[in-house]
Amino acid sequence: MFGGKKKAKVIQQDKEEILKKKFDILKKEVPIYVFTRKGENDPFNRFTMALIKELGKLTPKIIPEFHEIGDEVSKKYDVSRSPTILIDPAAYHIRYTGSPAGEEMRSFLDTIVMTSVGKTRLSSSDRERLTTLKESRHIQVFVTPT
């Protein structure tokens, strides 16, 4: 109407409805922190910020927070790569180093659901075995969008 070009959304309209339904079961609020630095992976920074912003609009349970790398919060969580996403960092240590694009989007959304609902898909025997762990573990899984 004003002749301005409307910015394309990351989440298509038909997918919004599906996601709203998926998020119906969310229980606990999930703070999602996005960290970016201008000049480093800019297209992925833009995608990640838009994605988290749009997810935050679909449900009040997702609480987006945006930070620049170098600020106090990024120092607190030792974030140096752009973009980085932290899921509920006060409670858990789950980090996405890079944007959850393409095929990775599905598992990213599952992570949000598991975090909020407080239930994982591990079998009861695997959960039991994990209780025997005594030392710290840093797991890194390398993925691509395909």
Partner: protein, 390 residues
Amino acid sequence: MAAAVASALERPDLITAEIVEASENEDLAVKYGVSSVPHTVINGKTVSLGVDTQDAFIEKILTLQEPAAGVPPLIREGEEVHVDIVIVGAGPGGLTAAIYGERSGLKCVVLEKGVVGGQVALTPVVENYPGLTRVAGKSLVDLMAQHAGQYAHIHQGEEVLEIKPDEQIKVSTNRGKYLCRAVILATGAKHRKLGVPGEERLYGRGVSYCATCDGYFYKGKKVIMVGGGNSAVTEALYLDSLGVGVTLVHRKDKLRAELRLQESLFSRKIPVFWNSGVGEILGDKIVTGVRIENTKTGKTEEMQVDGIFISIGYEPVNELAKKTGVELDEAGYVKADRRQRTNVPHIYAVGDITGGVKQIVTAVGQGAVAAMTAFEDLANPYWKEKEAVG
């Protein structure tokens, strides 16, 4: 990856999970020698190249080692589980059989020794599944698994070791025993290997059987795709569209792939080495080249490449069928009639293990037929009728 995140949620006091987008963090990918995905590192040590079952992944978290043979049982040791149908394999055929079986009122369990989805999970794009004009193979099997999971239990990482056909069929797995009335074999087919020097040694280090999984790492690099069928040409087109410099290497002077795919290949000017095979894969720690042999002249030449993708067809996964006394054809595929019955009463076979055109739609169709035939046979045993008449 889901298991990594789930573990961090279960043990926030000790476990941190980091999902690293390799193409946006090339320095990290290089540091850990990542050339295929998923690639998992725990406490700085690479523990797996490829998808793990949940049990195996947890074992690696606990021990930082490859798991020893045998995983803890999901069902109690010694316990015998009673079901109507045991379905071996969770590809499209097995998953469909579970949906149809349960909807007929038969209790089904799907046992999958690897990960759900079969070959389709590794297919970049599927364009011939009716109703879905273009869908990623992984997305399609996820949808099927979610659907089947609403009806039946799907056990990943559970391998069937033995099937003893009888009035009541005994199925032994690495986790326990099942007593059932019918078995549907959907064990599928696996990638055929070239069987040349360097192939095993450099697997995951430049040798790949999955362009969907690993193509990304070769953006701007040079690779060959070996094969001439639909899969090879589809994957070559996929690599080309990613910006990978791909050359097709084929043993004959014409392709087996669908005409439409061939047209795309030629219009994109993807080079083809005709009448050529790979004699050796070269490289110390990673692939640096291949030795190409001309199948007509016998002449060999070395070609510098960063990767080799292999798509030369499949071999039936028939060890279990063989052990069970199921009749196979000369190529090793299970012989099944048009109702998917094998020669052994109450044992059926569906999908790639039965050979034929090996399409997702045919596997799905056969899955439905097998479950419905099993339903009929359990009510009216066809071989007993024959005996009575005879």
